[in-house]
Symmetry: C2
Subunit: 554 residues, 2 copies
């Protein structure tokens, strides 16, 4: 059965391997929710399935609940009231270990086949997932569909692809024949077996539970490790659905479904710590705050720890062809999901003496005002705006807007609460944009949420230096640069190499700095404090398995 | 120039890539010191060069000595009296950083080309290196030639090969073209730049300074990192020669020779600690004691740390075709370099009720006595024996023989001091083999040196269990099994997968468990406490560089 899964998906795997090598555009999972891609009834079916689940106990076959937990609140105010079975860390670990031996023996083709089948089924349930992601993270529906569904599936497939690439280069068996001059050669048969590292733990975040969770989940699963998926207590449903589907596939393949388990738990308890410190846990994938990520790196020493933490993303404006196109693109990036993307820009550097443009000199105030106006314009039509900016995932982020206001900086775009036409209880805030000086140290830290600063610098050289040093000290997942001067682009390239951050030049069209595409863009570099690994590359998968060799004479 | 190096060695690199994929026998560096391979005068030239260096200041162009250090003693008693320039850790780091930017900008083809040229030149100086290795490590000349020369070069080349394999799969540039239905596609150009991690540190050992040092040195160098090579204070010369050659090649390539530096220092000072904890050091490769390796893993948290530490290597004897062939192979393994190889067997398990053989039942005592006799026989001809067993690298290892005797266990082969015909001061000891019981906890730890135990177990199942648990607790780099029963072999395979150790079956010929061949055998697995990485695989190189991406519309 599991071999059948591998064979079924092998053509896609082959394409994925080629895509990861060429790094052009490629995805097997349609990002458009059109009926042409997903079928005429997919949208209604997905919505119905989501609504069916509301107010009920979530079904995870074969799991004996010791307690029950629910998401506390929904950013859109919808009452989910779904109860998830809670299992103690000790029992989760014991069950993972009990499932480990057969999973190890199943071998790479089964690990990869099962992983690919899970992804294919996740894809078919993208509409149901979209509602689950929307009502836990606060993303607008379209983003929840794309980022929570096909784009997350792409990132999962990408991890499986790299895992297969690394594993499949190890031959099962080799003949070693060493010449001995006139004598017969020495001949040995060598067998190579891929072995997993141990129990893997995936710690999900509240904003992109699937997109950020799938790379680690599938990288560990596809290399033979049983995986415990610990969702953020505020965003359980998307990962619970994922685990449910994974267990179905495992069961169908005749395997123990405890190869993938859900560690649902209530906010504030010590589930994450107890799991992370268990000696059996050898792999941890984490997305979340710098404090929690650092704690894992410092304390879960028995495990290989992959972290994506916080950062300060930056924009350098040196010179422009068309300011309107620049600020339109930038405003969209600032507004998208209310700046709650780990790649959303925060600090925008503009020389205080202004910039060159095709229409002539533009003062700092011209640029700052244009950014502010463009951001304000986003919320001109609230019904449209809420689709873009979504809802604020949690109250702490909403309160951070107040803290930013309290800095007392001049306001370029005011943050306002908007009423959502469909969900009156939704926590919706438009982006706040403030004007700041480069010497203001308070802004050189992460202000997570719809908060950004247009910062007056001494020059573009100063902007580049600020960007470089901020990346080195605080980390960053994105850097966006606007310049018409190829020499400035070269200086940015040098700074980016030194600081270890990827960057985008002159984004004025339909590509936004927040977005990265699987198989083409590496998400994060692993070279600055924002993340210790990139999604995905060889380094992300190569340490998740080892090779045990047996040799004998033939 | 450096591009020329790449082109010159590209054919070898292509063969190496194929060899690492097929894992058959392959080496570009002849292991036989025959004049046919190295030229008529190579042997004399190498010896002359070695003797020329004795009693002099070691020449490292462009290095300003702050002090001078020498190896304290030679295992063969030869007075080396070579003085090496000592440079403070702070200055070494500053010089590495000063050389780093140009080295980074030189790019992968230069990093790999320079690395391959260094290896080619090291090969030509294999005789000189053999003397240097012999008189620092205590290895017999032939082993010093092979393991210190061509085999070490193989392992260096292997690391470069994996580095190139991982780096070359990242395209320099990609065109990303995303369809937009009826509209023009979005087209972006994406550039990918490989960037190094930072300053790399290689901490050498006293027994195999080149063989164990080259994988880390060349893996870091070939991925663009400047490398500081810190030799063991008792085995400076082999790595000093290596650094000298590396600096020559760098200078010829028009690069700053400080890309590779020597950190010679006296025993007992804090050079290693100061270098390892420097924030600029991002990669550390270490071979040595478990205590020092663990200290690095615990404290050098700013760096990626690769360690090869101690272990307890084991032999399981279940049943044999021909006991004579078994014990002959085993005795050779025990004698080779006096058990000072990290892969040398120590604990030999034999069921107390004896074993099956083609000639009928053999009692435990039959087997134990045969092992003892075969080991004693090794030293029957002292002049031949010293070539095999070499000298004891340091006095602590010699004293460990006394500590083993003090266990009060029955002696199967007595350790004796032999006089070396050429070097009367040489510290030569024949192997000690003791008889032990499986319940004796004192033997389940590393007894580094010419010390081994033949251990009575309850059964082969008990032997396998002991082997598995010893690997899990203490680590191991090798496991050797003798059985004529395929079912036992399967049980060992299962135990090896669980414990994460590679194993060899029925070695009775010209292959010894201590030996691993580059491009075919992984040295270590990274899956048990003896080493956290294998030499070499993707995992060993993939974290030594990162990718910085730049994208723009086209």
């Amino acid at each position: 059965m599991s071999q059948a899964f591998f064979e079924r998906h092998q053509p896609v795997l082959e394409q994925a391997l080629a895509a990861a090598r060429d790094r052009g555009y490629w995805s097997p999972f349609a990002e458009s929710p059109s009926p042409r891609n997903y079928g005429e009834t997919a949208a209604q079916d997905g919505q119905a399935a989501f609504e069916q689940a509301l107010g009920k106990d979530f079904a995870l076959d074969g799991v004996a609940a010791e307690d029950w937990v629910s998401e506390a609140t929904s950013p859109f105010g919808l009452a989910l009231n779904i109860r998830y079975p809670q299992v103690s860390p000790a029992r989760l670990i014991a069950s993972a270990q009990a499932a480990a031996a057969d999973w190890r023996r199943a071998g790479p083709r089964t690990w990869v086949g099962v992983s690919l089948e899970i992804l294919a089924r996740l894809n078919r349930r993208s509409f149901e997932m979209a509602h689950a992601v929307q009502h836990t993270t606060g993303q607008g529906f379209m983003m929840a569909f794309q980022a929570g569904g096909p784009h997350a599936q792409d990132r999962g497939l990408e991890a499986v692809t790299y895992a297969w690439q690394e594993m499949s280069r190890i031959p099962d068996v080799a003949l070693w024949e060493k010449p001995q001059g006139k004598h017969d050669p020495i001949r040995m048969e060598k067998r190579f077996t891929i072995v997993p590292r141990g129990v893997a733990l995936v710690i999900g975040c509240s904003t992109f539970p699937t997109w950020n969770g799938y790379p680690g989940l599938f990288a560990s699963l596809a290399t033979g490790n049983p995986v415990i998926v610990k969702p953020h207590p505020a965003a359980i449903l998307p990962l619970a659905l994922t685990v449910q589907i994974a267990r179905d596939v495992l069961r169908e393949a005749g395997l123990n479904p405890d190869v993938v388990q859900l560690a649902a738990h209530a906010a504030g308890d010590d589930t994450a710590q107890r799991l992370a410190l268990d000696p059996a846990v050898k792999l941890i994938d984490f997305t979340g705050s710098s404090a929690n990520g650092q704690w894992l790196e410092d304390n879960a020493r028995q495990a290989q720890v992959y972290t994506e933490k916080a950062g300060v993303n930056q924009v350098i404006i040196d010179s422009v062809e068309d300011l309107k196109a620049v600020v339109r693109n930038l405003a969209f990036s600032l507004g998208l999901y209310s700046g709650q993307m780990c790649t959303a820009p925060q600090n925008i550097y503009v020389p205080r003496d202004g910039i060159r443009s095709a229409e002539g000199h533009l003062s700092f105030d011209d640029v700052a005002a244009a950014i502010g106006a463009s951001v304000e314009k986003l919320s001109g039509d609230p019904a449209k705006a809420v689709e873009l900016i979504g809802a604020i995932q949690n109250e702490a982020t909403a309160q951070r807007i107040e803290q930013a206001r309290a800095l007392g900086l001049p306001v370029l775009a005011e943050s306002r609460a908007l009423e959502h036409p469909q969900f009156p209880q939704a926590r919706v805030r438009t982006p706040l944009v403030l004007r700041a000086e480069a010497r203001d140290v308070r802004i050189f830290q992460e202000w997570f949420g719809p908060i950004s600063f247009v910062i007056a610098t001494d020059s573009t050289a100063h902007s580049i230096e600020l960007a470089r040093e901020t990346v080195r000290e605080h980390g960053a997942l994105s850097l966006s640069v606007y310049t018409t001067d190829e020499q400035v682009a070269e200086q940015v390239q040098e700074a980016a190499e030194v600081a270890g951050v990827s960057w985008s030049l002159n984004l004025t069209g339909a590509v936004f700095v927040n977005q990265t595409a699987a198989f083409s863009d590496f998400h994060g570099t692993g070279a600055n404090p924002a993340a210790n690994a990139a999604l995905s590359d060889s380094a992300f998968v190569a340490n998740r398995f080892r090779v045990v060799q047996a040799r004998r004479h033939v």
